[in-house]
């Protein structure tokens, strides 16, 4: 197991090198002149040129890249031109908000979709199966900003059950001292139940929006994978040796059916990070997605670079985790690598 992880870790290195190169080139390929933007509308050609030199944009690409890598080595992602803040600090502040929302949505979705998928497979053709199909199709066909607005309309405007969709925490609460950056976790670590409840009530609607969106792929994949495994020879052996249906379904069938589900989870997580940008807009969530969009519109390439880099690293780590999970589930994977 340890060798699997260490070998897999080694494959992360070239991945990261690639990511660094691509983020650099990508931001250089963006339209718009950062020097002109930074200099402001009143600046003349000479002033722009001065700023270009100051920013190092007059140097050849390879020199710029060298400086970029050296800065990265010092964890320096540059400053945002619009806010003047170091990009690293901004990302540090905003990433937990996005991550908390995405993870919450994913966990919520998994806890509904996986059991639903199993049930649908075991009782194939029953009403559960049909309900599951309808719910999943409906969820994936509605765009997230629509589901988000609908939820806000029903639960905030009509019913008044949920607080105003304005960020991570109601104005009357102060955020818990930062430990993980996840408000739910931090408030619990501080035994501050009222903050926990407030954070949860804010998180519930955007989380639900993401959950509804991601139900479909997870349920469908769980169902399909379960059906395939339930029809396999070893499940027949298990039932022919009289194992009870719980053992057959959970220990024998489900663990084997997990592999494609885990792969899907990885993909769904990346979809959700994308869908996040819209959800954050709808719920005024101070996440990294809205930050990146604003920077992109302003041709502010340091934050964009930082954002792409952060996302890429997140994906690489995510894939690492999935591979390790594979190894835990399936002994054959351990042998191959």
């Amino acid at each position: 197991m340890l060798t699997l992880i260490s070998r897999r870790m080694m494959l992360v290195i070239p991945n990261l090198i690639g990511v660094v190169i691509i983020t650099f080139l990508l931001t250089r390929a963006l339209p718009g002149d950062p020097a002109a933007y930074f200099a402001g509308p009143a600046a003349d050609k000479q002033a722009i040129e001065q700023i270009r030199v100051k920013l190092g944009l007059d140097k050849p690409l390879i020199v710029q890249f060298g400086r970029y890598v050296a800065d990265l080595g010092h964890l320096n992602l540059g400053n945002s031109l619009t806010t003047g803040q170091p990009v690293l600090t901004e990302i540090k502040n905003r990433l937990p908000a996005s991550a908390e929302l995405t993870l919450f949505g994913l966990i919520l979705s998994m806890s509904i979709a996986v059991p639903l998928g199993i049930l649908a497979a075991v009782k194939q053709g029953s009403w559960i199966d049909h309900t599951c199909r309808v719910v999943a199709t409906a969820g994936v066909s509605l765009p997230v900003f629509f589901t988000g607005l609908l939820l806000v309309y029903v639960f905030y405007f009509l019913l008044g059950w949920s607080p105003a969709p304005l960020g991570r925490l109601d104005v009357f609460f102060s955020p818990p001292p930062q430990i993980t950056g996840f408000y739910l976790v931090d408030s619990l670590l501080n035994r501050d139940l009222s903050t926990f409840r407030a954070a949860l009530s804010q998180l519930l609607l955007p989380g639900l929006t993401l959950c509804i969106f991601s139900l479909a792929p997870i349920t469908r994949m769980t169902r399909a994978s379960m059906l395939a495994v339930l029809a396999s020879d070893f499940v027949r052996t298990a039932s022919a040796s009289g194992l009870d249906s719980r053992t057959v379904i959970l220990t024998y069938a489900f663990r084997n059916a997990m592999l494609p589900v885990v792969t899907t989870l990885g993909m769904v997580f990346s979809f959700l990070l994308g869908a996040n940008v819209l959800v954050e807009k709808v719920f005024a969530w101070p996440g990294i997605g809205s930050y990146a969009v604003e920077a992109l519109i302003a041709s502010d390439f340091a934050p964009v670079q930082g954002f792409v880099l952060a996302m890429a690293i997140l994906y690489v780590l995510l894939n690492l985790i999935i591979d390790v999970l594979y190894g835990i589930i399936d002994p054959r994977v351990r042998l191959e690598t």
């Binding site: 070998r7 080694m10 290195i13 070893f234 052996t237 298990a238 040796s241 009289g242 194992l243 009870d244």
Partner: protein
């Protein structure tokens, strides 16, 4: 978990009349709901098994033999349903029993072993744990002792080093070893009835013997009853007291094993008997009586012994032992321990095939016979040695290039699985025409005529030419594969177990067809097989391979009657010998 109190069923079982048959199936009918309506897989059959008796159910595919056993165990899939009849087990009506009670019986009173043993085990659970699951379920042992008991079971099925193997996963074990684990699983709770559904299909003949001997020993030792489901009459007669022959959902004959072999009474049994390859018969004897009389006598092709068609000399194929490792891990990873660098699949073999001769290449899985045939076909490259085909060194031509050369026309292949070797989206005619379109020149205009001619040659009704593979039977698909191989009038055909996936009666016909084609077209065959009885019938000469080397070669009669190598003798004795 402590031992459970005896349930109602257990009471019933204990008090049941000892004179009753253990299993009594009366008037059983099983139906399947399919898209094309209701199919009756089993119709009004009667089968009974006495205590301690071993019964074989023999039949070809579609005879309903497996469905019968699933119905007894009540593990039919959701489309299947018992519609009529009774299944009595020790005087208890299994049909009327609620699911949770019959579940207790499965594995504890009656259990099952399956074909393809590697697939029959949970791939990601340690084998020891899988045995434990069954022991736990039926509360046979106190939980503290359960792993000891599982190890003991592994020992019973003669698995060496059971304590280590307890932690093994199925993919780490050989097929034969997996089947032993499945047997351990089935016998762990000391059931009274064991149903073995084609337990040795896909296993080598020596492994088959070991597995069958083990099964019979263990069941006798424990006074159990056994039902062996098989398509192999020889296997059934060698290991069982009584035989039930099934055809298309009906039981056509039930008799003692010797009786069936000496005096089969039903027409179908006789046909099955005749079609089973065995020593002392010719190919024509396999055909049904009426056809055998009308068939031409087997011709004698004169061989030009002076100039062999294929000469293979000191052929070697090596595979690197560890090729799955990526270059990057090689760069960054710790240096792998130095292993004996290469694995020799084929280790310096030499043989010849004359014109018009058919040579059998036999051996067990992993002996290198398929690798050899692939090298002769120029599908893979050799490591060393020469392959001379009609005076030309084809071994030197890279496999990639060979496919487009005109030489390719002269060597063709018939594959093992008639279904998998046909493109599912090609009609039979398109499949047969494929080599003509690719390699034939000048024949394109007459492709259809040529296809029809070929179909007639291989005995495929011309009207079937426009069907897709899934609309054809196994035998018909085999004929399409053969027609495709002879389409370009090759000199040499490599036959890779062409009948292994076919029923015996179909196999008989296909083997005769191959013989006739060889006679009329003057081709040579390199016949790869593990079935010595089939090789005996079709081949002039036999090459016996073991671990990449040739242990013996010579004329068929000589090698199979008076084998010189100990390995050949082992192979021959492992073939089930029915009580004749």
């Amino acid at each position: 978990m402590a031992k459970k109190k005896p349930t109602k069923t257990e009471e019933l079982l204990r008090n049941s009349d000892k004179s009753l048959p253990l299993l009594d199936v009366q008037d059983l009918t099983v139906e399947f709901v399919t898209r094309r309506g209701i199919v009756r897989a089993v119709q009004h059959i009667n089968i009974s098994v006495a205590k301690g008796e071993s019964l074989a159910i023999v039949g070809e595919s579609g005879s309903g033999k497996s469905v019968t056993s699933y119905a007894v165990m009540r593990i039919l899939d959701r489309a299947g349903r018992i519609t009529d009849g009774t299944v009595m087990f020790s005087g208890i009506d299994l049909r009327a029993m609620p699911e949770n009670e019959i579940r207790d019986l499965r594995g504890r009173e009656m259990s099952m072993i399956f074909q393809s043993p590697r697939l029959a085990l949970n791939p990601i659970r340690k084998i020891g744990r899988q045995i434990e699951d069954v022991l736990h379920q039926h509360a046979q042992v106190d939980s503290g002792l359960v792993s000891e008991k599982a190890i003991e079971m592994l020992e019973h099925v003669r698995i060496a080093r059971p304590r280590e193997r307890y932690h093994a996963y199925p993919f780490e074990l050989s097929g034969g070893m997996c089947q032993r684990v499945v047997i351990a699983l089935a016998l762990a709770c000391k059931p009274q009835l064991l149903i073995a559904d084609e337990p040795t299909t896909g296993l080598d003949v020596t492994t088959q013997k070991a597995v069958m001997d083990l099964t019979v020993d263990l069941t006798r030792e424990r006074g159990m009853s056994m039902i062996l489901i098989t398509h192999d009459l020889g296997l059934a007669a060698a290991y069982c007291d009584r035989i039930v022959v099934m055809e298309k959902g009906h039981v056509v004959e039930t008799a003692q094993a010797e009786r069936i072999f000496k005096a089969p009474s039903h027409r179908y049994t006789r046909k099955l008997m005749r079609a089973t390859p065995r020593p002392g018969v010719t190919l024509r004897d396999l055909l049904p009586e009426e056809e055998a009389k009308s068939a031409r006598p087997i011709g004698h092709t004169d061989r030009h012994a002076a100039k062999p068609l294929l000469v293979v000399e000191k052929l070697v194929k090596e595979y690197p032992r560890n090729d799955a490792r990526g270059t990057l891990t090689k760069l960054f990873g710790p240096r792998p321990a130095v292993e004996p660098e290469n694995f020799r699949a084929v280790d310096g073999i030499s043989f010849t095939v004359d014109r018009g001769e058919s040579v059998g290449l036999v051996g067990e899985s992993g002996c290198g016979k398929s690798t050899t045939s692939m090298m002769v076909m120029r599908l893979i490259d050799k490591t060393a040695g020469t392959i001379m085909f009609d005076g030309e060194d084809i071994g030197e031509i890279p496999a990639r290039k060979f496919a487009t050369l005109p030489l390719r026309k002269r060597i063709q292949m018939v594959f093992q699985d008639p279904t998998d070797s046909l493109n599912p989206r090609f009609t039979a005619a398109r499949a047969i025409a494929d080599p003509i379109l690719r390699l034939g020149n000048g024949e394109r205009a007459f492709v259809r005529e040529r296809c029809e001619e070929l179909a007639r040659q291989v005995g495929l009704p011309v009207e079937l030419l426009d069907r897709f593979p899934h609309q054809l039977s196994g035998g018909q698909k085999a004929r399409v594969g053969i027609a495709r191989a002879i389409a370009l009038k090759p000199d040499l055909i490599v036959l890779d177990e062409p009948t292994a996936a076919l029923d015996v009666s179909v196999q008989a016909v296909v083997l005769n067809l191959l013989q006739d084609l060889k006679d009329s077209l003057g081709m040579s065959y390199l016949f790869v097989s593990h079935d010595l009885n089939v090789v005996r019938l079709l081949c002039d000469r036999v090459i016996v391979m073991q671990t990449g080397q040739i242990v013996e070669q010579g004329p068929t009669d000589q090698v199979l009657v008076a084998p010189q190598a100990a390995y050949t003798r082992d192979l021959l004795t492992a073939i089930p010998h029915p009580p004749l």
